[in-house]
Symmetry: C2
Subunit: 120 residues, 2 copies
C-alpha cells in the first residue's frame, strides 16, 4: 500500500490504512500522540508516524492500555515509567521522541511542547 519512494502520506490515506476515522487522528494530535509534518495547513504522515500509530493502537487493543497512560508516558518521559514497560514499548517510544524532535526542529520553534492538552 505504501511504496518506499514516497516519504509521506495524507491524513485520509493513513486513516483508511489504520481503519480509523481521520477525526481520530486529529484527536490524537491534541495530545501530541503523533505530530505529522505540515506543509502549509496540510498534514503529511511519515512511515514512522504510521508505525508509531499502529503501535499505539496495538497497545490499546492488545495490551488493553488506555490513551491516558500512553499520553502520560509521552509527557513524563521519565525512567520511573519506562522501567516498568516491556522492551518494545520503550523502543517505539524512543523512536517517537526522536522523530518528534526532528520534526520540531525542521518546522519552527523548538521544544514548545506544552500546549499539549490533557484528557478532559
Amino acid at each position: 500500500m505504501f511504496n518506499e519512494a514516497d516519504k509521506s502520506y495524507p491524513i485520509e490515506l493513513v486513516a483508511e490504512f489504520l481503519g480509523i476515522n481521520s477525526r481520530t487522528l486529529y484527536y490524537y494530535e491534541k495530545f501530541s500522540l503523533v505530530c505529522p509534518l505540515r506543509r502549509g495547513r496540510k498534514r503529511y504522515y511519515s512511515k514512522e508516524d504510521i508505525n508509531w500509530l499502529e503501535y499505539v493502537r496495538e497497545l490499546m487493543y492488545e495490551h488493553g492500555m488506555n490513551l491516558r497512560s500512553i499520553i502520560i508516558l509521552i509527557k513524563r518521559r521519565d525512567a520511573v515509567i519506562l522501567d516498568r514497560c516491556p522492551e518494545d514499548i520503550v523502543l517505539c517510544f524512543k523512536n517517537y521522541l526522536a522523530r518528534k524532535e526532528t520534526v520540531a526542529r525542521k518546522i519552527n520553534i523548538e521544544g514548545e511542547d506544552d500546549n499539549v492538552k490533557d484528557l478532559k
Copy 2:
C-alpha cells in the same frame, strides 16, 4: 491493618483498605477477577486475594491497563499473552491462578470456570 494471625477478611474491610466500594468487589467477582472463600454466603478474602486486588488496581491506574485485558489474561491464560507481559504481572497472575484452584478444590466443583461473565 491486617495482622498476620488472621487468615481472611470480610468484604467491607477489604473495600475500605483498597479505597473502593464493596460493590466494585462484587463487580470484579462477576468476571472471576477474584474468588474469595465463602463460608455460607459470606465472603472471606485472604491476604493473597488482597495483594492480587492491589495489583489489579495498580495495573489499571499506573499501567493504564483496562479491565477487559486483565480479564482476557485470566481467561485465556495462554503464553501468547503472557509473553508480552512484564515479569511481575506474570508472577502475580500465576499466584492468582494457583490460589483459585486451591479455593475451587476446597469449596466444591472442579474447573467449572465458565459461568464467568464477559464485559457487556
